[in-house]
Each structure stands twice: as structure tokens, then as C-alpha cells.
């Protein structure tokens, strides 16, 4: 479907409504809004949400921001909960217990804590079983809801409350897990990595593809956190842009095993551009810590080169 943001926003009112209590400058609400806009207006959705920032800020009894059906159970099992609802739909549809002409889509949302870490087993199981659902990870790179603890999505050297930049250990000492590749290793029909950049085009198109591809699909969406990353709230979109333009967060999709990098920066920016505006990387810019930036750059380059190769060989 051709993308025209003005038309989409005009024709499709937000299914994630205002009044939620997410922080100003948080990357997750625009992501949720845009992903739900990719639903056909006539389709109903069941949304499963892992415990996390998004859940505790959007559904505080008796108020909800979700206009579709919504279920939250626990931290680590949004995928299994969603899978159960999908199984119910399949069974009841088959038995004629639901209207024939109505369609329900199944979408799960989890942060990187609920997805990369505590919920990885539940996610892997649901994807392998082939449920017709889309799992969306809004990746803000740490356990932000409990107060910025490191996760396996936290980039190397980041200062978090459980990997503080100390005098002996300068932040998190391990590299970030590549969940998008782990999900691709499940050989799903559609896996994509995206961010709210360039008028949401990349995010919208991938969301639509993911939701309307039959079978289990996965979206990994960069969702910066002003508190955890330490940037001014109004700079959210700038941070998204720098993550993509430095190739820290490449935008790509894998459709039935075929890789496609959906945006290649004409001129890849040095990683400092992404690191500099964030307080969590402040210590990297202290004299004597140049090696950390060098190492960070090397890791970004290596992963970007790998991705370019994957795109080439999978054609």
C-alpha cells in the first residue's frame, strides 16, 4: 500500500488514545500508535502487553488507552498469552462460534526486558509454533520501568543502575544481544527491524507487512527513553535519526529468508554523533576513554558489514 502519512492519520484515528501516562519524549507511544494505524480500520485487534512501562502507564484501573481488546498478564509471557488468544480464535472460528466476516489480528507488545530477557522463551515458543500473530519489541535498551537496569539489549559501555560507570568497571562490559537475528533464526515469514524515522514510513510499512503476513512475525522497534538514555525530551526524533544514520540501528527486513536493508545512509555518520547527546555514554568522552568509542565504532561497523553481506547472499 502506498504510504501517505497525512491520509493515514486523517483516515485512521489513533487506536492508542491520549491520556496515558508515558513520559514526555518516550519513544514507545508513537511506535504503538503507528503500528496500530497499520491495522485495516474494519479489523478488530487483540493486543497482549508484557508488564513494563507501556502497560503500567496505559491501563491503570479503571482507565485504558487501548480502544481494541487488550490483555496484560505478566512480564515474561505476552507471547504465550497472545498465542492462547489466537488459538481460541482459530478454534472458535472453525466451530462457527464467531462471526464469519469479522477478522481479528493478534499483536503482542513487550519492552526489551520482557522480550530479549525474561520473555525470550515464551516468545521463541510462540513463534516456533506458528501462531498467526505479530510480536513487537519496543526496545529502549534497559529495564526502564524499574529504574534503568541493564538488559541484554543494553549497548556496551552504557551507564545503567546495575552497570554503573564506576572507577573500576566503566559501565556495561558486554555487547548487545542481536534479537532480530535470533528471531530470523526461527525462519519466520517476516522479521524486521525499524524505528520511527523519516515520517514513520519505514515503521508503518513494516507494521502493515508484519500484521498482514500470515503466521508469526516479529518487529524490533527502537524506542529511545529520555530518562534512561539522558537526552532532552524534545530530541526523541533526532535520537532516532542518529541511531539510524550511524548504522547503530539499521533498518532492514527479512522476508522468507531474504534480507533487505530498507535504508542505507548515503554517508554513515561516526558513532560519536549518536553517543554524544546521551548521558548514559558521558564517560566515554572523558580523556583516556577514547578506546571505548573506538571499540563501539568497530562493533557497529562489523555488524553493519555482516548485514550488507547477508543482504547480498540471500538474494
Amino acid at each position: 500500500m502506498a504510504y501517505n502519512m497525512k491520509e493515514i492519520v486523517a483516515e485512521r484515528p489513533s487506536r492508542f488514545t491520549s491520556g496515558h501516562r508515558m513520559c514526555a519524549g518516550c519513544g514507545a507511544p508513537p511506535v504503538a500508535r503507528m503500528i496500530l494505524r497499520a491495522l485495516k480500520p474494519e479489523d478488530h485487534a487483540v493486543i497482549a502487553n508484557a508488564t513494563g512501562c507501556m502497560e503500567v502507564s496505559s491501563f491503570i484501573y479503571p482507565y485504558t488507552s487501548w480502544t481494541d481488546s487488550y490483555i496484560h498478564t505478566a512480564f515474561e509471557c505476552a507471547a504465550a498469552t497472545c498465542a492462547g488468544a489466537e488459538a481460541a480464535y482459530k478454534s472458535m472460528k472453525k466451530q462457527g462460534k464467531l462471526p464469519k466476516d469479522e477478522h481479528t489480528k493478534f499483536i503482542a507488545f513487550g519492552g526489551d526486558g520482557g522480550t530479549y530477557d525474561i520473555g525470550l522463551q515464551s516468545l521463541s515458543g510462540a513463534m516456533e509454533r506458528g501462531h498467526d500473530m505479530t510480536y513487537v519489541c519496543y526496545d529502549n535498551g534497559a529495564y526502564m520501568n524499574t529504574g534503568i537496569q541493564r538488559s541484554s539489549a543494553t549497548p556496551k559501555f552504557a551507564d545503567t543502575t546495575t552497570s554503573p560507570a564506576g572507577t573500576v568497571i566503566p559501565g556495561k562490559m558486554q555487547a548487545r544481544k542481536d534479537l532480530t537475528e535470533i528471531m530470523e533464526a526461527h525462519h519466520l515469514p517476516y522479521v524486521a527491524q525499524t524505528a520511527a524515522y523519516m515520517n514513520f514510513k519505514d515503521l508503518y510499512e513494516k507494521a502493515e507487512k508484519a500484521i498482514y503476513t500470515e503466521g508469526p512475525t516479529f518487529l524490533n522497534v527502537l524506542s529511545p527513553c529520555p530518562r534512561g538514555w539522558g537526552y532532552p525530551t524534545e530530541d526523541l526524533m533526532e535520537i532516532n535519526k542518529l541511531a539510524v544514520e550511524t548504522c547503530y540501528w539499521p533498518l532492514y527486513e527479512v522476508e522468507n529468508g531474504k534480507y533487505k536493508i530498507t535504508y542505507k545512509p548515503a554517508k554513515k555518520l561516526p558513532i560519536e554523533e549518536f553517543l554524544k547527546p546521551q548521558k548514559r555514554f558521558k564517560h566515554l568522552f572523558k580523556p583516556g576513554n577514547e578506546w571505548m568509542i573506538e571499540e563501539f565504532q568497530k562493533e557497529v561497523d562489523r555488524r553493519w558489514e555482516d548485514l550488507l553481506k547477508l543482504e547480498q547472499i540471500s538474494q
Binding site: I60, Y70, T73, G84, A88, S91, M92
Partner: protein
């Protein structure tokens, strides 16, 4: 009337599930309940049921998927044992907190550690305060009958609580017994269709479930659960009455066996009740007034009924197939003691821990407990109420 069969307890549970024909079954194998999802997936793959079978990767996901399915508007069932239930523990509370009438077959087994695959009740006792209705089954027939009644109870508007039907691992789950089954059509009619008021798949009325529920509301929501549990007592009896009309098999919250004039009595659950009945019979032949109180419904706990039923006894032993490791006695013992005290029944009461990790429970041992009770009934004060039955001396 009825179909005469020979089935193991697991086969009986799987057969009940087949006849109930739930919309979704999500389960993960664990000894000794493994056979239930095994038999059931055969029914699914041979087109004998309409169920979607979700072969999950863990028990945590089994209960999560059951919650998702039940919330979506489906009837969801599962089966598990011991550590499987332990892994589910978080979701067990969420299922009842969300008021979802999921039905589980719990084949009781010792919870690790150390690892042991055999029967005791430590798994069930670990979830005794989780807001699930808990029914125990002496025989394969009861495991079957309790499952057939389960949905009618759990889905009742006044109740809306999940329900687990317990039976003893291996002792009944793997032992083949005579059983009387109902015809498929009769089960279908008895269980009825499930029409939840609110559910996720109702496009006309989208619903949000599982909120952040803070200081202003959680207390009241928990109170509502407590109220539902109290209401469940009468619903269980009403459903049992209908079941009796259909089958001739009568069930209460408790079963009183030769209890009316009993001077000494044993309280226990599941298969041990069968062994105890044999001992009661042989003691009665010798002129000893022994009796049995079998607990069929453990949650809601029939405290008043128990206190009343034991009002003529002079000494009572409560047999717990799980040790609470609290320095006082088993969980069932404490519930019985509290119920007796509140209802002004001052009978001498003792706790016996027995059968841990599948330790065999013999008639001889049950008889020795009755012999102890004869002595206890003569005393004003019991000095050693926390005891063990069948513990090796060396």
C-alpha cells in the same frame, strides 16, 4: 445406563476432556500427568474433538496460553503435576485474579527438591491460597466425575473462578480401575455451552483485561474473589445434585464414612480414603467405632461441615501428604484445627505427615494411627500432636 469401562486415572481425565470438547488445551508434559496431553493430542489429531491443542514450551506458557484463550472467550483446559505447577505459580494467581474459569487436571506429585516423580500433595498445597477451587478424587471414577462437574461450577456467574481436579499420581493416574462413563451426548448436555459475558474476541465490545490495579481498587477486587469462593460452596452442591440425577452418584463437599457414631476418625484426601475405608470396615468388625472423613472439596474449605461431622468423635487424626515444614503440622491439619476451634469443637486433634515422595501407605499403618487415636481419646491434653506415619526408623 452409563458405559462400563476399565481406565487409568489419566485415561479417565483425558476421556472427560474429550467429552467436554474444550476450545483450547495448552499443556506441557510432566510425569505423572504426561499421558493426559498425550491422549488428548491423539483425539485432536484424529479429529475427535474441535480443540486447538497448543503444545507449549513450558508450564508457565501453558497457563499463560490458557489465560489468553479463556479471556478470548474460549473454554481452556490444561493438565500438570508438581514442578509444572510450581513453574505456573505466577500465572495461577493471575488466572484467578482475572476471574477466568480455567479447568486443570492436577496429578499430584512431590515438588522438588530433591527430585522425586512420585505422589504426595506438596504441589497442591503450594497453591492452596491462590483462589482456585480445589477438588480431590479418591478414585478414577471421581477424577472423571469431578472434571465433568468442573465447568458448571467454575463458569457459574456467582463463581467465575478457575478449578483444579486433583488425583494421586501413579496411585490412581496409572492404575486401571472399573469406571462408569457417561455417553458423549449426555456429557455435552450436562456441561452445556460456554457463553462468557465479556471476552476479548467480542468485536462489538472490546475489553481491556489485567490492569495495573493500585491502592484504590485491588482490595475490593480481592474481596470479590473471596466472596466468589464462599458462593462456590452452594454452587458445588447444586451441580452435584444435578449430577446425581443424571448418574445416581452422590457427591458432597465431604464424604462421611461410618462417621456418625465414630469415636475415632481419620481425615484425609484422595486415594488414601480408599485404604482407610478398608481399615474402618475391619475395625468395625472388631467392635471399634472408627470412621473416615474424606475431603472432596478442599477450596472452598468446608470448615463448618467438618466440625459438625466430627462432633461426636473423641480423637481425630488429620493425614497430610505434604509437610508444611512450619514446626506445627500439615496444612490440612491446620485448616481442620482452625475450623474445629471456630465452630466450638474441642475434639483431641493430631497431625500425621505421611506418604511423602510416593512412600507406600498400607492398611497396617492406617490401623496403627487408629490404635494411637484410641489412646489419644483417653487423654485430656495431647503432648505430641505433630507426628509421622510410615517414616523409616533407621
Amino acid at each position: 445406563m452409563g458405559i462400563r469401562e476399565r481406565l487409568s486415572g489419566n485415561e479417565a481425565a483425558a476421556t472427560a476432556m474429550k467429552q467436554i470438547n474444550p476450545d483450547v488445551v495448552a499443556a506441557f508434559p510432566i510425569t505423572p500427568s504426561t499421558e493426559i496431553p498425550q491422549y488428548f493430542s491423539t483425539f485432536v489429531d484424529n479429529g475427535m474433538v474441535d480443540t486447538e491443542f497448543v503444545a507449549v514450551e513450558s508450564e508457565h506458557s501453558a497457563m499463560s496460553a490458557c489465560i489468553g484463550a479463556e479471556a478470548a472467550g474460549a473454554r481452556a483446559m490444561t493438565a500438570t503435576s508438581a514442578n509444572g505447577l510450581s513453574l505456573m505459580w505466577e500465572m495461577i494467581y493471575i488466572a484467578s485474579g482475572m476471574r477466568l474459569p480455567i479447568v486443570m487436571s492436577l496429578v499430584n506429585r512431590a515438588v522438588s527438591g530433591p527430585l522425586n516423580i512420585h505422589n504426595d500433595h506438596s504441589d497442591a498445597m503450594g497453591v492452596r491460597d491462590s483462589g482456585w477451587i480445589m477438588m480431590f478424587s479418591e478414585t478414577n471414577q471421581e477424577a472423571y466425575d469431578n472434571l465433568l462437574m468442573a465447568h458448571r461450577i467454575a463458569e457459574n456467574e456467582k463463581v467465575l473462578l478457575p478449578l483444579m481436579v486433583c488425583q494421586d499420581g501413579f496411585i490412581t493416574s496409572h492404575a486401571i480401575e472399573n469406571i462408569e462413563l457417561l455417553e458423549d451426548e449426555k456429557v455435552k448436555e450436562f456441561v452445556g455451552e460456554y457463553h462468557p459475558k465479556h471476552y476479548l474476541l467480542n468485536k462489538k465490545e472490546p475489553i481491556a483485561m489485567g490492569p495495573m490495579d493500585l491502592q484504590a481498587f485491588l482490595f475490593e477486587h480481592k474481596y470479590q474473589q473471596a466472596e466468589a469462593m464462599r458462593e462456590a460452596k452452594q454452587v458445588i452442591l447444586d451441580v452435584a445434585k444435578d449430577f446425581e440425577k443424571l448418574t445416581g452418584r452422590k457427591y458432597g463437599l465431604i464424604e462421611e464414612y461410618k462417621l456418625e457414631d465414630a469415636e475415632i476418625a481419620i481425615v484425609c484426601m484422595n486415594s488414601t480414603a480408599g485404604t482407610t475405608k478398608e481399615v474402618v470396615d475391619s475395625l468395625r468388625e472388631k467392635g471399634i467405632k472408627a470412621g473416615l472423613l474424606k475431603i472432596r472439596v478442599f477450596r472452598p474449605f468446608p470448615a463448618e461441615e467438618i466440625a459438625k461431622a466430627l462432633s461426636n468423635a473423641k480423637a481425630v487424626a488429620v493425614l497430610d501428604k505434604a509437610d508444611s515444614l512450619n514446626g506445627v503440622g500439615g496444612a490440612l491439619f491446620q485448616d481442620v484445627a482452625a475450623g474445629m476451634y471456630v465452630n466450638k469443637n474441642n475434639v483431641n486433634l493430631v497431625s500425621y505427615i505421611y506418604g511423602i515422595g510416593g512412600r507406600d501407605t498400607t492398611e497396617k499403618e492406617i490401623e496403627s494411627v487408629f490404635n494411637d487415636l484410641i489412646e489419644d481419646s483417653k487423654k485430656d491434653k495431647i503432648e505430641n500432636p505433630y507426628r509421622y506415619m510410615g517414616l523409616r526408623k533407621e
